[in-house]
């Protein structure tokens, strides 16, 4: 406890403080991807329009989770576990539901 008392006057050194530059870079990237997804929506890519739109959305979401939500810098393994399990169970929900609905007319 004595070690801790001396350290408690300062910011805990394991905390990540995002720099101004990196935050603005991520912000600009998010704006650029927004422009890109709007532009791509008006181009006929056949069945790939939805895939492109969702891929761009996932890239944006990943940037937000990793950099704005500091997951990239956390040393806490449990945070990563919670994030991965949330995505995993969402994937189960969507994929098993669609595995049902898209195959109901099969004989």
């Amino acid at each position: 406890m004595s070690d801790h008392n001396s350290a408690s006057d300062q910011t805990p050194e394991h905390e990540h403080i995002s720099t101004l530059g990196s935050s603005i870079a991520i912000w600009l990237a998010l704006l650029a991807f927004t422009g890109l997804t709007v532009g791509a929506a008006f181009v006929d890519l056949g069945p790939f329009n939805t895939i492109v739109a969702l891929t761009i959305a996932t890239i944006k979401a990943t940037l937000v989770v990793l950099f704005f939500m500091h997951v990239k810098y956390t040393h806490e393994k449990l945070t990563g576990l919670v994030v991965v399990s949330a995505i995993f169970f969402l994937f189960i929900l969507l994929s098993l539901s669609m595995a049902d609905y898209t195959t109901r007319l099969w004989r």
């Binding site: 603005i24 927004t34 006929d44 989770v65 939500m69």
Partner: protein
């Protein structure tokens, strides 16, 4: 002397925000952070149910959804996306100000987030008002007579119209998803108002800013939900 008394005495010299059942500030912060992430995992499943419903009906009523989607104003949707991304940046800068102990900067960025949140909700309210005027709100007065995507290129006699019941399903999902998202925004704005007041009172320091960080996580999550809602609701079948 009981151990808890010893711990409590030791705590008395430390950060007053450190609760007695935690050993260290780092442990307390990790516990709060993990709790927030578990809450967000639950939110993923909550919104996931609606995304799943959307996916099933988009698959089933593919062209009708494309038709109904084109009744939305893509510019307003894009502006709202930009507003939310900017509000995520102000949250990041707010957390940074809290970490660096800049009290007034923290208050400023929290208020900036509230302003952007209210701008988003204002634009959303304007879009909702338009839906009421056009009778595109599901219910007794719903009426829909629009072409399927790409049909305007055909001669008038061959043009096909969207099934109003299928379009109504799109608008039901539109209102359910954007409505739940807007409710989260309203809660977020209230939360940030409270935090701005407490920050102005000087409650948050570089040793204790957990509420700022967790509210920030919440706000970023709400931003991520919109990142998916925007292409799924506004951008489908625009190329036809």
């Amino acid at each position: 002397m009981p151990t808890s008394q010893v711990v409590a005495d030791q705590h008395a010299h430390e950060n007053p925000a450190l609760l007695h059942h935690f050993e260290t500030e780092a442990q307390q912060k990790n516990a709060a952070s993990l709790g927030m992430w578990v809450f967000l995992a639950q939110e993923v499943m909550f919104f996931g149910g609606m995304f799943c419903a959307y996916l099933v009906y988009r698959y089933k009523y593919f062209a009708d959804f494309g038709s109904a989607s084109q009744q939305l104003d893509i510019r307003l949707g894009a502006i709202n996306t930009v507003v939310l991304i900017c509000s995520s940046l102000t949250v990041v800068l707010g957390v940074r100000a809290a970490q660096l102990g800049k009290r007034m900067a923290l208050v400023f960025w929290l208020l900036a987030t509230i302003v952007l949140g209210i701008v988003f909700l204002g634009i959303k309210a304007d879009e909702y008002a338009e839906k009421f005027e056009k009778h595109h709100v599901p219910g007794a007065s719903f009426s829909y007579h629009e072409l399927l995507p790409g049909q305007e290129k055909l001669p008038p006699a061959e043009r096909q119209y969207a099934d109003p019941h299928h379009a109504e399903m799109y608008f039901s999902l539109y209102f359910a998803m954007t409505g739940m998202h807007a409710l989260h925004m309203i809660i977020g704005v209230g939360l940030f108002g409270f935090l701005a007041y407490m920050a102005w009172r000087g409650k948050y320091t570089p040793q204790y800013y957990t509420p700022i960080e967790n509210a920030g996580l919440y706000w970023h999550f709400v931003d991520i939900v919109w990142i998916y809602l925007f292409p799924l609701l506004y951008l489908i079948d625009r190329h036809r």
